[in-house]
């Protein structure tokens, strides 16, 4: 992301040091990841040590310091889904894509995450891909669903 756009976002929040997390969220949402150069720029403009920015970028789940895949696969492992067998869904998906939660496959096609409750407990177990919810999943169906994504 070029520095001009970063500056725009920072200026929108009036370059307040306490708006650090909000600024980073906006950049993450637009850019899909946080490049090192961008973090340096934020550190400069908001006058916040880079060490603190790196801690925030790694502490919070929303941020990624590496590029993510084209399709975000989120498996809900909230208690309700867990009790309805979410761990089996996760195992099958892990096996099919070949990555663990937090990772992205080599083709940058899928990024796998586990999430703690999407709020659709009636549909458990739930798998969300690119924001689309797939409910009442079974291990057998996951392969079918994943096939539909390029």
């Amino acid at each position: 992301m070029d520095n001009d756009r970063v500056d725009q976002i920072i200026d929108k929040h009036e370059a307040e040091p306490s708006s650090l997390i909000q600024v980073m969220l906006e950049i993450q949402s637009e850019n899909n990841w946080l490049p090192k150069a961008t973090l340096n720029r934020i550190s400069e403009r908001l006058e916040v040590p880079l060490a603190r920015i790196l801690h925030i970028a790694t502490f919070y789940q929303a941020f990624s310091l590496v590029p993510k895949g084209r399709h975000g696969v989120h498996i809900c492992v909230g208690t309700a889904c867990h009790v309805r067998g979410a761990s089996r869904i996760l195992d099958t998906v892990q096996e099919k894509i070949g990555i663990k939660p937090g990772e992205t496959d080599l083709d940058l096609k899928f990024s796998l995450e586990v999430v703690n409750c999407l709020g659709c407990c009636a549909l458990g177990p739930v798998m969300e891909i690119d924001g689309k919810t797939h409910g009442k999943m079974t291990p057998g169906e996951t392969a079918e669903v994943l096939k539909n994504y390029e």
Partner: protein, 641 residues
């Protein structure tokens, strides 16, 4: 839209809104909460809108997309007013019939009605359905009547009346007194008396004070706050403004999870329109009171739901909790007096001010007044959000409202309080729901998650699950939590894998004592609760895992094997085809055999084997029987003589 600058102007404005609304005009309310959208209510809305136009009824029928109605198991759902006809599991293709039959002809479409599972009786009105009949929807009920994106809808049901009353007919002190008198206890988990918290901030000499909404609902399985914020954001804004007025604050924050985009969207819109109308900002309703609200998004950390961690995150830092030796209502956000309360707590405030503390205290028990919204999820027939008066027995919530356990399974436990809570077993189901009662039983109220578990749920795995969750979410600052949970997870995982040792339970108990006694914050201090409560009520399961390498619930993958009973298998080939690991050997008329080396224990074969055969079984604690000889695997058809 010019700002409303006086109570008289507000009354006039409200009167105008109501006069333009005909209560007899057909109005279809469609649940557009996040869960229903996931089941396709967006498409249902589009189809209904199209049909209304197509059948020439534009302007004669209102379609209102509301917040969550609570009966998530049966979504998408619509309620047609004024008759209160409720249709469930509505599909886009039903739209034409709904408009032509029910709206035009006033005829009821029986197949879309709720059917009582026992009596088979069909029920028309929402309020008569067992799920709703036993609830007391004081706070949540409004969700069904308003479009969260419309402030006029909120005004039509009396919204901002409490604010008007407080600013013009009450003093800040009397607002605080009313909240104190109501005995409203925090709905986020701590159950701390809200009035007392407010009073501490009010009495502090520091002039700058903050009010904060904790909308970082992190307990997995709990989504009440999300539905309140999505469905009725103005009620929270009104409550927050009342609190600010009571303690003398002029700046408020709403800290909401970024995983709730619809809630963020709706609350930002609500703030904008409230400012336009004069309910927020400078000189609210012409009273001279200034108050503004900002929204901050969380970035994915459960620990930020802890109040001191939340304030630290609001300051733009990592969400590490601070010691509560100096309470945050004295030194909180930026070291100033800060009142932080949960979404549901704030939503109760306008009701208390409008109707009075005496009205509020008639609901609930001595120690827990009012109602509580629970997310009733897991192994339950009627999954959804329910609001009940405190003191209702857990049994009634699970059976009368929840409809009991599906698939004829036996109830085992209900988990309340999320990762900080515990499991309540069957023999305690008469327990009236309330803060102190749940704590005494080894659990806690928490934010309201109620996860129902049945005979297939392994309680050791439940403990392991929660410890795994907390290990992932721990901030990592203090040793008892970071290291203690790390070791507890290792031990519990070993136990579920059949590698438990004799001294494991004692080790876990020591770690539990260390965390409870010495951890920095409530996350660490309450982390051992799921383990301690499952040990208290289900010690036999721990013993089976450690001593017999057996999982009584037949759930822990490493301790079970799937086995096809050769006396029951009819070689229908369904499981062999569906097995994702290709682990089943068999053919037409050849009894199937599971290759235990290839089997991933996904359970698909168990689920798809036709119930008239029930040939797939699970074994635990004993070796898998040897395969029967090849010749005996062939099913010979009996020749008809």
């Amino acid at each position: 839209m010019s700002r409303i600058n006086s109570p008289a102007e507000l009354d006039e404005f409200r009167k105008n809104i109501l006069s333009e609304r005909d209560p007899n005009k057909p109005c279809i309310t469609l649940c557009a909460g996040s869960a229903c959208i996931a089941t396709g209510s967006g498409d249902v809305a589009l189809s209904l809108e199209a049909e209304i136009v197509k059948q020439g009824l534009r302007d004669k029928v209102d379609l209102r997309k509301t917040g969550c109605h609570g009966y998530c198991e049966r979504g998408p759902m619509i309620v047609i007013h004024p008759e209160e006809i409720s249709y469930f599991q509505v599909q886009p293709k039903d739209a034409a019939e709904i408009i032509s039959e029910t709206i035009k002809e006033k005829k009821i479409i029986k197949r879309l009605l709720y059917t009582d599972p026992d009596t088979k009786e069909k029920i028309v009105k929402e309020s008569e359905i067992p799920f709703y009949k036993h609830q007391e929807r004081l706070v949540f009920g409004s969700n069904g009547s308003i479009d969260p994106k419309s402030i006029d809808d909120y005004l039509a049901i009396g919204g901002y009346g409490a604010l008007k009353k407080a600013l013009y007919d009450m003093t800040p002190e009397s607002v605080l007194e009313e909240v104190k008198k109501s005995n409203l206890r925090g709905r986020g988990g701590g159950g701390f008396p809200a009035g007392r918290k407010w009073e501490g901030s009010r009495d502090d000499p520091e002039p700058i004070k903050y009010v904060i909404v904790n909308a970082d609902e992190g307990d997995p399985g709990a989504y009440m706050d999300r539905s309140l914020l999505e469905g009725n954001p103005h009620s929270i804004l009104e409550g927050l403004t009342l609190g600010a007025y009571a303690i003398g604050s002029h700046e408020g924050y709403i800290y909401v999870r970024q995983e709730y985009p619809l809630a963020v969207e709706n609350v930002l819109l609500a703030i904008k329109t409230a400012e336009e109308y004069g309910f927020l900002g400078k000189n609210i309703l012409g009273s001279g009171f200034d108050f503004e609200v900002k929204v901050h998004q969380g970035a994915g950390a459960f620990v930020c739901g802890e109040s001191t961690a939340l304030m630290t995150a609001l300051e733009g830092r990592v969400g590490e909790p601070r010691p509560k030796y100096i309470r945050s209502n004295i030194k909180g956000f930026w070291e100033k007096p800060s009142v932080l309360n949960n979404v549901e707590t704030w939503a109760n405030v306008p009701l208390i001010i409008n109707k009075g503390a005496d009205w509020f205290t008639q609901y609930g028990t001595e120690g827990s007044k009012g109602t509580k919204i629970f997310s009733l999820v897991g192994k339950i027939v009627n999954t959804g959000l329910v609001e009940v008066p405190m003191g209702m027995p857990l049994k009634d919530i699970i059976y009368k409202i929840g409809g009991g356990i599906p698939n004829g399974k036996k109830f085992k436990a209900v988990q309340t309080g999320g990762p900080s809570g515990g499991c309540i077993p069957e023999d305690l189901l008469d327990l009236p729901v309330g803060f102190d009662e749940l704590t005494k039983a080894g659990s806690m109220m928490g934010s309201g998650g109620m996860i129902v578990m049945d005979e297939d749920t392994c309680m050791v795995d439940v403990a392991r699950y929660f410890i795994a969750f907390l290990t992932d979410e721990s901030c990592g600052k203090c040793v008892p939590c970071r290291e203690g949970l790390r070791q507890m997870l290792k031990i519990l995982t070993r136990i579920t894998e059949g590698k438990g040792r004799q001294d494991d339970i004692q080790l876990l108990k020591d770690l539990a004592e260390t965390a409870k006694g010495a951890a920095l914050c409530a996350l660490g201090k309450s982390a051992p609760n799921p383990f301690l409560s499952t040990l208290r009520y289900f010690e036999n399961e721990y013993e089976a895992h450690i001593n017999e390498k057996r999982c009584p619930a037949l759930s822990c993958k490493e301790l079970i094997a799937y086995y096809i009973d050769p006396t029951q298998c009819k070689a229908c080939m369904i499981c062999a085809r569906k097995c994702p690991a290709d682990a089943i050997d068999g053919g037409k008329n050849k009894i199937h055999l599971i290759d235990q080396e290839k089997c991933t224990k996904c359970g698909t074969c168990y689920e798809v084997c036709p119930s008239r055969f029930s040939a797939v079984t699970r074994i635990s604690g004993e070796p898998v029987p040897d395969p029967i000889p090849e010749e005996e695997r062939i099913i010979r058809k009996r020749k008809k003589k």
